[in-house]
């Protein structure tokens, strides 16, 4: 049953050095506040997993939280590069960063297999690409369909130690509802051994909403109330994406010193939620 914790205690209990951590969110509902708390608590050697590592993972990589990144598209959407990610891959700063990269379809299906309790998932993908060259991509193999003989890509199940997501609401028992663009958050939570959901607010009753994802309390480890916890990403029904911030991140993240100053002022010295 999900335990209601404050953000500090939830991160302290659930996220450990060396863990494989999936902080999902497809542009929408990115768990920025939780990521900042992980940075403040000085976690190291994490394997970070996410389809679309954007500004949050750029910050965590630049602050040396990560040993490895498993991903499928690493950019600042509509703006350009992730400079801290690039600096790590191109120059090994602040430390070497191992990468395992997939396509969105491939990494998505790694989560699906993990959530399904299966050893792998199949898809029609990767064929003919450099990702499919022998020895290039971990957790990718090929299988022949037993019914049709078609050769298909197989991707190994992903089982993160902990999944961290942000949602709009939880009820008093810790059941969670999110709506709008839902990304791969449900699969990440169900694939993970532990899960933390930060929410905008606690409500007496979760009102049904079209296309929403509801995660029962017993399927979650911890819930923390963090209003604004997705900013500068957005939470449908609560606040909009701060596109100006994503544009402004470009010059801040280009320069190591300017980046570190920004993190000091806005994350390390910020008051935890």
């Amino acid at each position: 049953m999900a335990e209601l914790l404050n953000l500090h205690d939830a991160v302290a209990r659930l996220v450990r050095d060396g863990d494989t951590v999936a902080m999902e969110g497809f542009t929408h509902l990115i768990p920025h506040a939780a990521g900042h708390e992980i940075i403040r608590q000085g976690r190291r050697d994490l394997t970070l997993v996410r389809l679309t590592p954007d500004v949050l993972y750029d910050q965590m990589i630049g602050m040396d939280c990560a040993r490895k990144l498993v991903f499928s598209w690493g950019g600042n959407p509509g703006v350009g590069s992730l400079h801290r990610f690039r600096d790590a891959v191109e120059n090994g700063w602040p430390g070497p960063l191992e990468i395992e990269e997939h396509s969105h379809a491939g990494l998505t299906n790694r989560y699906v297999a993990g959530a399904s309790g299966l050893p792998f998932a199949v898809l029609r993908g990767y064929a003919g690409t450099s990702l499919a060259e022998p020895g290039r991509t971990a957790n990718l193999a090929w299988v022949d369909c037993p019914f049709t003989g078609e050769r298909l890509a197989a991707v190994a199940a992903l089982r993160p130690d902990v999944a961290v997501i942000h949602a709009q609401q939880a009820d008093r028992d810790g059941a969670v509802q999110l709506w709008g663009i839902a990304g791969v958050q449900k699969e990440a939570v169900l694939a993970a051994r532990r899960s933390l959901v930060t929410v905008e607010e606690i409500v007496d009753r979760l009102e049904p909403r079209p296309g929403s994802v509801v995660l029962p309390a017993w399927a979650l480890t911890a819930v923390a109330v963090v209003p604004g916890g997705a900013r500068p990403s957005y939470a449908a029904g609560y606040y909009d994406r701060d596109n100006d911030f994503y544009q402004a991140w470009e010059p801040v993240s280009r320069d190591r010193d300017r980046f570190l100053e920004w993190m000091q002022a806005h994350v390390l010295e910020a008051v935890p939620a």
Partner: protein, 279 residues
């Protein structure tokens, strides 16, 4: 002529001509899987002009999005709020893209080779890249499974290269017949729109051929901007210049994406280079 002069005279810049040429290739009522950046601009231009019933699908799970302003990211709230349906990421790839329900996949590229294969992963050696690009995203499976693929890229020898540093997404592989050998269900790229003209694959060899030039561009300029010995179609066409309506709609759309407080000036050249490289 400078970009500023072109705009002042009400004429199209090369980038605008590229967007118009790509938009014109989309037919009303088609279902189009849209990448962010230039493809999204062109697809929304088509929807604002000759193809009001174009169905835009974004990999964030937004099906039938009808944005009034250009999204900065593929997951902007505007896309979800205006969509016919919003589905999860596993669903968009497994249920909608993979079975072949999409007519046109619309991709950008950092590098394109003569068989319309695409690199969006690295420049240089994979393990020691000189430029680390964002990577695959949805592109490999979009390129594999859509019935047709359109590509947009600025024409330069840095982009149109003899050999890719990394093959992120397959066009025609090593040439005609490779898609069939690889089991890729879609027909592959049928059009590459650039700021100089349009390239289409030779029906026999699958090699990209210059079939269309934009007004004022010469064959020599297109060949000089291509990193291989670019073939030119015998019946080379000249693109119709953008209509007043196309240009007006395109500029109206692009104005919706400028950061607040940056009205009028447009983007710095360096910034624009980053955008075109990364998408």
């Amino acid at each position: 002529m400078s970009v500023a002069a072109a705009v002042a005279q009400g004429r199209a810049t090369p980038a605008e001509m590229m967007a118009v040429a790509a938009a014109r290739a989309l037919s009303d009522g088609e279902v189009c899987f849209v990448g962010i950046g230039a493809p999204s601009t062109a697809a929304n231009l088509a929807r604002a002009t000759h193809a009001p019933r174009l169905v835009l699908v974004y990999e964030s799970g937004c099906i039938g999005a009808k944005p009034a302003r250009l999204p900065l990211s593929i997951g902007d709230g505007e896309l979800a709020d205006t969509a016919d349906a919003v589905v999860s990421v596993p669903e968009i790839f497994n249920y909608w893209l993979q079975p072949g329900r999409i007519d046109v996949g619309f991709l950008g590229a950092a590098q394109v080779d003569r068989f319309a294969n695409i690199n969006t992963t690295v420049v240089g050696d994979y393990d020691r890249p000189s430029v680390r690009l964002p990577g695959a995203g949805g592109a490999p499976e979009i390129a594999a499974s859509c019935r047709q693929v359109y590509i947009m890229a600025r024409h330069s020898p840095r982009t149109f290269v003899a050999a890719l540093d990394f093959r992120t997404s397959v066009g025609f592989g090593a040439g005609a017949g490779d898609r069939e050998r690889l089991g890729l269900p879609g027909a592959g790229p049928v059009l590459v729109a650039t700021d100089l003209g349009v390239l289409r694959p030779d029906p026999e060899t699958a090699e990209l051929v210059l079939t269309q030039l934009h007004p004022g561009v010469t064959v020599d300029e297109a060949r000089a901007a291509t990193g291989w010995d670019l073939r030119v179609a015998g019946d080379l066409e000249i693109s119709e210049p953008p209509t007043a309506s196309e240009l007006e709609q395109l500029r109206r759309l692009e104005a919706t994406q400028r950061p607040q407080g940056a009205a009028g000036g447009g983007r710095a050249p360096h910034h624009e280079t980053e955008r075109s490289r990364d998408h």
